[in-house]
Subunit: 235 residues, 2 copies
Amino acid sequence: MKNCVIASTSTLYGQESLTYLLDTISELYMDCKQVLFIPYARPGGISHDEYTQRMQRIFKKIGKKVIGSHTFESPEKALQQTEGIYTGGGNTFLLVDQLYRTHTMQVLAEAINQGKPYLGTSAGSNICGLTMQTTNDMPIVYPPSFKTLGILPFNINPHYLDPNPNSKHKGETRATRIKEFHTLNPQPVVGLREGSWLRLKNNSIILEGELTARVFTKHKEPYEISPNSSLSDLN
Amino acid sequence: MKNCVIASTSTLYGQESLTYLLDTISELYMDCKQVLFIPYARPGGISHDEYTQRMQRIFKKIGKKVIGSHTFESPEKALQQTEGIYTGGGNTFLLVDQLYRTHTMQVLAEAINQGKPYLGTSAGSNICGLTMQTTNDMPIVYPPSFKTLGILPFNINPHYLDPNPNSKHKGETRATRIKEFHTLNPQPVVGLREGSWLRLKNNSIILEGELTARVFTKHKEPYEISPNSSLSDLN
Protein backbone atom coordinates (compact mmCIF):
# COMPACT_ATOMS: atom_id res chain seq x y z
CA MET A 1 0.00 0.00 0.00
CA LYS A 2 1.66 3.18 -1.17
CA ASN A 3 0.16 6.36 -2.52
CA CYS A 4 2.85 8.94 -3.26
CA VAL A 5 3.78 11.79 -5.56
CA ILE A 6 7.56 12.19 -5.61
CA ALA A 7 8.42 15.36 -7.52
CA SER A 8 11.72 16.81 -8.71
CA THR A 9 10.78 20.33 -7.62
CA SER A 10 7.96 22.20 -5.92
CA THR A 11 8.27 25.14 -8.28
CA LEU A 12 8.66 25.65 -12.01
CA TYR A 13 10.25 28.76 -13.48
CA GLY A 14 7.83 31.70 -13.53
CA GLN A 15 5.15 29.86 -11.53
CA GLU A 16 4.03 29.91 -7.93
CA SER A 17 4.96 26.93 -5.78
CA LEU A 18 3.09 23.67 -6.64
CA THR A 19 0.97 25.31 -9.39
CA TYR A 20 1.89 22.67 -11.98
CA LEU A 21 1.01 19.90 -9.49
CA LEU A 22 -2.33 21.19 -8.18
CA ASP A 23 -4.49 18.70 -10.13
CA THR A 24 -2.20 15.83 -9.19
CA ILE A 25 -2.21 16.62 -5.50
CA SER A 26 -5.96 17.30 -5.45
CA GLU A 27 -6.33 13.68 -6.52
CA LEU A 28 -3.60 12.48 -4.13
CA TYR A 29 -5.21 14.12 -1.10
CA MET A 30 -8.78 13.36 -2.28
CA ASP A 31 -9.75 11.77 1.05
CA CYS A 32 -7.82 14.15 3.35
CA LYS A 33 -9.23 17.25 4.99
CA GLN A 34 -5.89 18.10 6.46
CA VAL A 35 -2.24 17.57 5.54
CA LEU A 36 0.71 17.35 7.93
CA PHE A 37 3.56 19.47 6.55
CA ILE A 38 7.18 18.59 7.38
CA PRO A 39 9.08 21.89 7.08
CA TYR A 40 12.48 20.73 8.39
CA ALA A 41 14.41 21.32 5.13
CA ARG A 42 13.93 25.12 5.53
CA PRO A 43 14.82 26.42 2.03
CA GLY A 44 17.08 29.47 2.22
CA GLY A 45 17.01 29.10 6.01
CA ILE A 46 13.42 30.37 6.50
CA SER A 47 11.69 29.41 9.75
CA HIS A 48 9.41 26.39 10.16
CA ASP A 49 6.48 28.76 10.82
CA GLU A 50 7.10 30.88 7.73
CA TYR A 51 7.52 27.81 5.52
CA THR A 52 4.31 26.28 6.86
CA GLN A 53 2.34 29.52 6.39
CA ARG A 54 3.52 29.63 2.77
CA MET A 55 2.13 26.12 2.23
CA GLN A 56 -1.12 26.95 4.03
CA ARG A 57 -1.77 29.71 1.48
CA ILE A 58 -1.11 27.33 -1.42
CA PHE A 59 -3.11 24.39 -0.09
CA LYS A 60 -6.11 26.70 0.42
CA LYS A 61 -6.48 26.64 -3.39
CA ILE A 62 -7.37 22.93 -3.20
CA GLY A 63 -9.39 23.33 0.00
CA LYS A 64 -6.96 21.60 2.34
CA LYS A 65 -5.82 22.65 5.80
CA VAL A 66 -2.07 22.38 6.52
CA ILE A 67 -0.45 21.93 9.95
CA GLY A 68 3.31 21.99 10.54
CA SER A 69 4.81 18.88 12.15
CA HIS A 70 7.03 21.19 14.24
CA THR A 71 3.97 22.49 16.16
CA PHE A 72 3.29 19.10 17.80
CA GLU A 73 4.84 18.06 21.06
CA SER A 74 5.10 14.57 19.53
CA PRO A 75 5.68 14.75 15.75
CA GLU A 76 5.75 10.95 15.98
CA LYS A 77 2.10 10.82 17.12
CA ALA A 78 1.14 13.55 14.65
CA LEU A 79 2.43 11.32 11.83
CA GLN A 80 0.55 8.32 13.14
CA GLN A 81 -2.70 10.29 13.33
CA THR A 82 -2.57 12.41 10.17
CA GLU A 83 -4.54 11.67 7.02
CA GLY A 84 -1.91 12.97 4.56
CA ILE A 85 1.70 14.15 4.56
CA TYR A 86 3.80 16.65 2.58
CA THR A 87 7.58 17.03 2.98
CA GLY A 88 8.82 20.23 1.35
CA GLY A 89 12.19 20.98 -0.23
CA GLY A 90 15.22 22.84 1.05
CA ASN A 91 18.38 21.28 2.48
CA THR A 92 18.33 17.46 2.51
CA PHE A 93 21.06 17.16 5.17
CA LEU A 94 19.03 19.33 7.53
CA LEU A 95 15.81 17.45 6.75
CA VAL A 96 17.41 14.04 7.38
CA ASP A 97 19.10 15.28 10.54
CA GLN A 98 15.79 16.58 11.92
CA LEU A 99 13.90 13.40 10.99
CA TYR A 100 16.44 11.39 12.99
CA ARG A 101 16.49 13.84 15.89
CA THR A 102 12.70 13.85 16.18
CA HIS A 103 12.66 10.02 15.86
CA THR A 104 10.32 10.28 12.90
CA MET A 105 12.31 8.69 10.05
CA GLN A 106 10.97 5.22 10.79
CA VAL A 107 7.46 6.45 11.69
CA LEU A 108 7.27 8.40 8.44
CA ALA A 109 8.26 5.29 6.45
CA GLU A 110 5.57 3.28 8.25
CA ALA A 111 2.89 5.92 7.61
CA ILE A 112 3.75 5.92 3.89
CA ASN A 113 3.85 2.12 3.73
CA GLN A 114 0.39 2.03 5.34
CA GLY A 115 -0.90 3.99 2.35
CA LYS A 116 -1.18 7.51 3.75
CA PRO A 117 -1.02 9.95 0.81
CA TYR A 118 2.48 11.43 0.64
CA LEU A 119 3.82 14.31 -1.43
CA GLY A 120 7.55 14.96 -1.56
CA THR A 121 9.26 17.73 -3.49
CA SER A 122 13.02 18.06 -3.97
CA ALA A 123 14.55 17.20 -0.53
CA GLY A 124 11.19 15.63 0.37
CA SER A 125 11.59 13.35 -2.67
CA ASN A 126 15.25 12.64 -2.07
CA ILE A 127 14.41 10.99 1.25
CA CYS A 128 12.10 8.50 -0.53
CA GLY A 129 15.17 6.76 -1.98
CA LEU A 130 17.33 4.19 -0.22
CA THR A 131 19.81 6.88 0.82
CA MET A 132 20.14 10.66 0.52
CA GLN A 133 23.51 10.23 -1.17
CA THR A 134 22.46 11.60 -4.55
CA THR A 135 21.29 14.94 -3.20
CA ASN A 136 22.67 18.16 -4.73
CA ASP A 137 22.67 19.95 -1.38
CA MET A 138 25.47 21.26 0.80
CA PRO A 139 26.33 19.28 3.94
CA ILE A 140 25.45 22.15 6.29
CA VAL A 141 24.83 19.72 9.16
CA TYR A 142 26.15 16.20 9.96
CA PRO A 143 23.20 13.80 10.13
CA PRO A 144 23.48 10.55 12.13
CA SER A 145 23.12 8.54 8.90
CA PHE A 146 22.60 9.01 5.15
CA LYS A 147 20.01 6.18 5.13
CA THR A 148 16.52 7.40 4.26
CA LEU A 149 12.97 6.06 3.88
CA GLY A 150 13.54 3.41 1.21
CA ILE A 151 10.03 3.90 -0.18
CA LEU A 152 11.65 3.50 -3.60
CA PRO A 153 14.07 0.64 -4.38
CA PHE A 154 16.53 3.15 -5.89
CA ASN A 155 17.83 6.70 -5.31
CA ILE A 156 16.54 10.00 -6.67
CA ASN A 157 18.51 12.89 -8.07
CA PRO A 158 16.02 15.77 -8.06
CA HIS A 159 16.43 18.94 -10.18
CA TYR A 160 18.34 16.77 -12.64
CA LEU A 161 20.39 18.93 -15.04
CA ASP A 162 21.90 17.84 -18.33
CA PRO A 163 25.54 18.81 -18.90
CA ASN A 164 25.70 22.18 -20.66
CA PRO A 165 27.81 21.67 -23.81
CA ASN A 166 28.73 25.39 -23.84
CA SER A 167 29.84 25.58 -20.22
CA LYS A 168 33.43 26.54 -19.48
CA HIS A 169 33.01 25.62 -15.82
CA LYS A 170 35.20 22.73 -14.67
CA GLY A 171 33.16 21.64 -11.64
CA GLU A 172 31.80 18.09 -12.06
CA THR A 173 28.61 17.65 -14.09
CA ARG A 174 25.66 15.92 -12.46
CA ALA A 175 26.36 12.82 -14.57
CA THR A 176 30.00 12.69 -13.33
CA ARG A 177 28.86 13.02 -9.73
CA ILE A 178 26.43 10.11 -10.14
CA LYS A 179 29.19 8.07 -11.82
CA GLU A 180 31.35 8.72 -8.74
CA PHE A 181 28.41 7.57 -6.58
CA HIS A 182 28.31 4.29 -8.51
CA THR A 183 31.97 3.54 -7.83
CA LEU A 184 30.92 2.98 -4.20
CA ASN A 185 27.17 2.25 -4.20
CA PRO A 186 25.05 -0.31 -6.09
CA GLN A 187 21.55 1.17 -6.39
CA PRO A 188 20.19 2.81 -9.56
CA VAL A 189 19.63 6.58 -9.56
CA VAL A 190 16.74 8.29 -11.32
CA GLY A 191 17.56 11.82 -12.50
CA LEU A 192 14.19 13.61 -12.36
CA ARG A 193 14.07 16.84 -14.37
CA GLU A 194 12.08 19.80 -13.05
CA GLY A 195 8.46 19.20 -14.07
CA SER A 196 8.65 15.40 -13.65
CA TRP A 197 7.36 13.29 -10.81
CA LEU A 198 6.98 9.64 -9.88
CA ARG A 199 3.48 8.37 -9.08
CA LEU A 200 3.50 5.42 -6.69
CA LYS A 201 0.37 3.38 -6.24
CA ASN A 202 0.85 0.15 -4.33
CA ASN A 203 3.81 -1.45 -6.12
CA SER A 204 3.54 0.52 -9.34
CA ILE A 205 5.98 3.37 -10.02
CA ILE A 206 5.17 5.53 -13.07
CA LEU A 207 7.08 8.54 -14.43
CA GLU A 208 4.62 11.43 -14.88
CA GLY A 209 4.88 14.92 -16.37
CA GLU A 210 5.90 15.76 -19.91
CA LEU A 211 9.65 15.14 -19.76
CA THR A 212 11.84 12.08 -20.03
CA ALA A 213 13.95 11.05 -17.03
CA ARG A 214 17.53 9.76 -17.00
CA VAL A 215 18.32 6.44 -15.38
CA PHE A 216 21.82 5.68 -14.08
CA THR A 217 22.80 2.13 -13.15
CA LYS A 218 26.14 0.83 -11.94
CA HIS A 219 27.24 -1.20 -14.93
CA LYS A 220 25.35 0.27 -17.93
CA GLU A 221 25.39 3.51 -19.86
CA PRO A 222 22.75 5.98 -18.59
CA TYR A 223 19.49 5.91 -20.57
CA GLU A 224 16.32 7.97 -21.01
CA ILE A 225 12.81 6.78 -20.17
CA SER A 226 9.63 8.34 -21.58
CA PRO A 227 6.74 9.84 -19.63
CA ASN A 228 4.29 7.14 -18.47
CA SER A 229 7.08 4.52 -18.34
CA SER A 230 7.07 2.14 -15.43
CA LEU A 231 10.01 2.04 -13.01
CA SER A 232 8.43 -0.72 -10.92
CA ASP A 233 11.16 -3.21 -11.85
CA LEU A 234 14.16 -0.91 -11.40
CA ASN A 235 16.30 -2.00 -8.48
CA MET B 1 54.95 28.35 9.44
CA LYS B 2 52.69 27.69 6.50
CA ASN B 3 53.48 27.55 2.80
CA CYS B 4 50.39 26.67 0.77
CA VAL B 5 48.66 27.22 -2.54
CA ILE B 6 44.93 26.60 -2.15
CA ALA B 7 43.32 26.70 -5.58
CA SER B 8 39.69 26.64 -6.70
CA THR B 9 40.39 24.15 -9.48
CA SER B 10 43.26 22.14 -10.96
CA THR B 11 42.11 22.79 -14.50
CA LEU B 12 40.91 25.77 -16.50
CA TYR B 13 38.69 25.40 -19.56
CA GLY B 14 40.66 24.37 -22.63
CA GLN B 15 43.90 23.80 -20.69
CA GLU B 16 45.71 20.78 -19.37
CA SER B 17 45.61 20.18 -15.63
CA LEU B 18 47.65 22.68 -13.55
CA THR B 19 48.95 24.59 -16.63
CA TYR B 20 47.85 27.98 -15.26
CA LEU B 21 49.55 27.21 -11.93
CA LEU B 22 52.91 25.88 -13.16
CA ASP B 23 54.90 29.02 -12.28
CA THR B 24 53.22 29.25 -8.89
CA ILE B 25 53.90 25.65 -7.96
CA SER B 26 57.47 25.77 -9.30
CA GLU B 27 58.05 28.45 -6.69
CA LEU B 28 56.04 26.56 -4.01
CA TYR B 29 58.03 23.34 -4.46
CA MET B 30 61.35 25.16 -5.04
CA ASP B 31 63.16 23.14 -2.37
CA CYS B 32 61.47 19.77 -3.05
CA LYS B 33 62.79 17.06 -5.34
CA GLN B 34 59.74 14.96 -4.77
CA VAL B 35 56.07 15.56 -3.96
CA LEU B 36 53.72 13.20 -2.11
CA PHE B 37 50.41 13.05 -3.99
CA ILE B 38 47.18 12.28 -2.11
CA PRO B 39 44.86 10.76 -4.76
CA TYR B 40 41.97 9.74 -2.47
CA ALA B 41 39.35 12.06 -4.02
CA ARG B 42 39.42 10.00 -7.27
CA PRO B 43 37.69 12.35 -9.77
CA GLY B 44 35.16 10.46 -11.89
CA GLY B 45 36.03 7.34 -9.92
CA ILE B 46 39.48 6.75 -11.54
CA SER B 47 41.95 4.58 -9.63
CA HIS B 48 44.62 5.90 -7.26
CA ASP B 49 47.29 4.61 -9.64
CA GLU B 50 45.80 6.23 -12.73
CA TYR B 51 45.32 9.55 -10.93
CA THR B 52 48.91 9.49 -9.66
CA GLN B 53 50.32 8.65 -13.11
CA ARG B 54 48.40 11.61 -14.55
CA MET B 55 50.10 13.89 -12.00
CA GLN B 56 53.52 12.34 -12.59
CA ARG B 57 53.27 13.36 -16.26
CA ILE B 58 52.34 16.93 -15.32
CA PHE B 59 54.93 17.39 -12.58
CA LYS B 60 57.65 16.24 -14.98
CA LYS B 61 57.23 19.64 -16.66
CA ILE B 62 58.61 21.32 -13.53
CA GLY B 63 61.18 18.59 -12.88
CA LYS B 64 59.51 17.05 -9.84
CA LYS B 65 58.96 13.40 -9.01
CA VAL B 66 55.51 12.42 -7.69
CA ILE B 67 54.71 9.42 -5.47
CA GLY B 68 51.16 8.41 -4.50
CA SER B 69 50.43 8.26 -0.75
CA HIS B 70 48.41 5.07 -1.41
CA THR B 71 51.60 3.19 -2.33
CA PHE B 72 53.02 3.43 1.19
CA GLU B 73 52.34 0.86 3.88
CA SER B 74 52.18 3.80 6.30
CA PRO B 75 50.83 6.95 4.60
CA GLU B 76 51.29 8.52 8.04
CA LYS B 77 55.08 8.05 7.91
CA ALA B 78 55.16 9.06 4.25
CA LEU B 79 53.59 12.38 5.23
CA GLN B 80 56.06 12.88 8.05
CA GLN B 81 59.00 12.21 5.75
CA THR B 82 57.98 13.96 2.53
CA GLU B 83 59.33 17.33 1.38
CA GLY B 84 56.11 18.53 -0.29
CA ILE B 85 52.46 17.53 -0.59
CA TYR B 86 49.71 17.83 -3.23
CA THR B 87 46.08 16.82 -2.62
CA GLY B 88 44.13 16.59 -5.87
CA GLY B 89 40.45 17.20 -6.54
CA GLY B 90 37.54 14.83 -6.97
CA ASN B 91 34.96 13.92 -4.35
CA THR B 92 35.49 15.68 -1.00
CA PHE B 93 33.42 13.14 0.99
CA LEU B 94 35.61 10.33 -0.30
CA LEU B 95 38.81 12.29 0.36
CA VAL B 96 37.80 13.13 3.93
CA ASP B 97 36.65 9.57 4.60
CA GLN B 98 39.98 8.18 3.38
CA LEU B 99 42.02 10.71 5.36
CA TYR B 100 40.22 9.58 8.52
CA ARG B 101 40.45 5.88 7.66
CA THR B 102 44.21 6.11 7.00
CA HIS B 103 44.65 8.19 10.21
CA THR B 104 46.29 10.96 8.22
CA MET B 105 43.96 13.95 8.75
CA GLN B 106 45.85 15.09 11.85
CA VAL B 107 49.28 14.17 10.45
CA LEU B 108 48.57 16.11 7.27
CA ALA B 109 47.58 19.19 9.33
CA GLU B 110 50.80 18.89 11.33
CA ALA B 111 52.95 18.56 8.20
CA ILE B 112 51.36 21.71 6.74
CA ASN B 113 51.69 23.61 10.02
CA GLN B 114 55.40 22.68 10.10
CA GLY B 115 55.79 24.52 6.80
CA LYS B 116 55.91 21.69 4.28
CA PRO B 117 54.87 23.10 0.90
CA TYR B 118 51.25 22.13 0.23
CA LEU B 119 49.17 22.42 -2.92
CA GLY B 120 45.43 21.76 -2.80
CA THR B 121 43.04 21.95 -5.73
CA SER B 122 39.26 21.72 -5.46
CA ALA B 123 38.57 18.93 -2.88
CA GLY B 124 42.21 19.31 -1.79
CA SER B 125 41.47 22.98 -1.05
CA ASN B 126 38.15 22.33 0.57
CA ILE B 127 39.85 20.32 3.31
CA CYS B 128 42.03 23.32 4.22
CA GLY B 129 38.97 25.01 5.73
CA LEU B 130 37.54 24.41 9.21
CA THR B 131 35.02 21.93 7.81
CA MET B 132 34.17 20.39 4.44
CA GLN B 133 30.60 21.64 4.76
CA THR B 134 30.75 24.09 1.87
CA THR B 135 31.75 21.49 -0.70
CA ASN B 136 29.71 21.16 -3.91
CA ASP B 137 30.18 17.39 -4.00
CA MET B 138 27.74 14.51 -3.62
CA PRO B 139 27.79 12.59 -0.33
CA ILE B 140 28.76 9.29 -2.00
CA VAL B 141 30.25 8.00 1.26
CA TYR B 142 29.56 8.78 4.96
CA PRO B 143 32.76 10.12 6.53
CA PRO B 144 33.31 9.86 10.31
CA SER B 145 33.24 13.67 10.58
CA PHE B 146 32.93 16.80 8.43
CA LYS B 147 35.79 18.47 10.36
CA THR B 148 38.85 19.09 8.21
CA LEU B 149 42.39 20.49 8.47
CA GLY B 150 41.61 24.00 9.74
CA ILE B 151 44.68 25.42 7.99
CA LEU B 152 42.45 28.40 7.17
CA PRO B 153 40.28 30.11 9.82
CA PHE B 154 37.28 29.95 7.46
CA ASN B 155 35.70 27.63 4.88
CA ILE B 156 36.27 27.44 1.13
CA ASN B 157 33.71 27.06 -1.62
CA PRO B 158 35.79 26.01 -4.63
CA HIS B 159 34.56 26.33 -8.24
CA TYR B 160 32.45 29.26 -7.04
CA LEU B 161 29.72 30.10 -9.57
CA ASP B 162 27.72 33.31 -9.74
CA PRO B 163 23.96 32.90 -10.10
CA ASN B 164 23.02 32.85 -13.80
CA PRO B 165 20.37 35.58 -14.30
CA ASN B 166 19.02 33.77 -17.38
CA SER B 167 18.66 30.37 -15.74
CA LYS B 168 15.21 28.81 -15.51
CA HIS B 169 16.50 26.08 -13.21
CA LYS B 170 14.96 26.16 -9.73
CA GLY B 171 17.69 24.28 -7.84
CA GLU B 172 19.36 26.46 -5.20
CA THR B 173 22.09 28.84 -6.37
CA ARG B 174 25.49 28.59 -4.74
CA ALA B 175 24.77 31.79 -2.81
CA THR B 176 21.52 30.34 -1.41
CA ARG B 177 23.31 27.16 -0.35
CA ILE B 178 25.95 29.18 1.52
CA LYS B 179 23.17 31.26 3.13
CA GLU B 180 21.64 28.00 4.37
CA PHE B 181 25.07 27.01 5.71
CA HIS B 182 25.17 30.24 7.72
CA THR B 183 21.86 29.55 9.43
CA LEU B 184 23.69 26.77 11.29
CA ASN B 185 27.42 27.58 11.17
CA PRO B 186 29.40 30.70 12.17
CA GLN B 187 32.55 30.69 10.01
CA PRO B 188 33.03 32.87 6.90
CA VAL B 189 33.10 31.19 3.48
CA VAL B 190 35.33 32.29 0.62
CA GLY B 191 33.86 31.58 -2.81
CA LEU B 192 36.94 31.01 -5.00
CA ARG B 193 36.26 31.28 -8.73
CA GLU B 194 38.10 28.98 -11.15
CA GLY B 195 41.48 30.62 -11.80
CA SER B 196 41.84 32.00 -8.25
CA TRP B 197 43.94 30.66 -5.43
CA LEU B 198 44.95 31.61 -1.90
CA ARG B 199 48.66 31.93 -1.16
CA LEU B 200 49.48 31.21 2.48
CA LYS B 201 52.87 32.18 3.83
CA ASN B 202 53.17 31.95 7.59
CA ASN B 203 50.14 33.90 8.80
CA SER B 204 49.51 35.83 5.60
CA ILE B 205 46.66 34.79 3.31
CA ILE B 206 46.54 36.55 -0.08
CA LEU B 207 44.05 36.09 -2.92
CA GLU B 208 45.98 35.45 -6.15
CA GLY B 209 45.00 35.09 -9.80
CA GLU B 210 43.18 37.66 -11.90
CA LEU B 211 39.64 37.33 -10.52
CA THR B 212 37.83 38.74 -7.52
CA ALA B 213 36.54 36.33 -4.86
CA ARG B 214 33.22 36.46 -2.99
CA VAL B 215 33.19 36.50 0.79
CA PHE B 216 30.15 35.29 2.74
CA THR B 217 29.83 36.01 6.45
CA LYS B 218 27.01 35.12 8.80
CA HIS B 219 25.56 38.56 9.49
CA LYS B 220 26.61 40.72 6.52
CA GLU B 221 25.76 40.91 2.84
CA PRO B 222 28.28 38.98 0.69
CA TYR B 223 31.04 41.14 -0.80
CA GLU B 224 33.79 40.95 -3.43
CA ILE B 225 37.51 41.23 -2.74
CA SER B 226 40.12 42.12 -5.35
CA PRO B 227 43.15 40.08 -6.41
CA ASN B 228 46.09 40.63 -4.03
CA SER B 229 43.74 41.40 -1.12
CA SER B 230 44.63 39.96 2.24
CA LEU B 231 42.29 37.53 3.99
CA SER B 232 44.60 37.17 6.99
CA ASP B 233 42.05 38.82 9.31
CA LEU B 234 38.96 36.97 8.10
CA ASN B 235 37.63 34.65 10.78
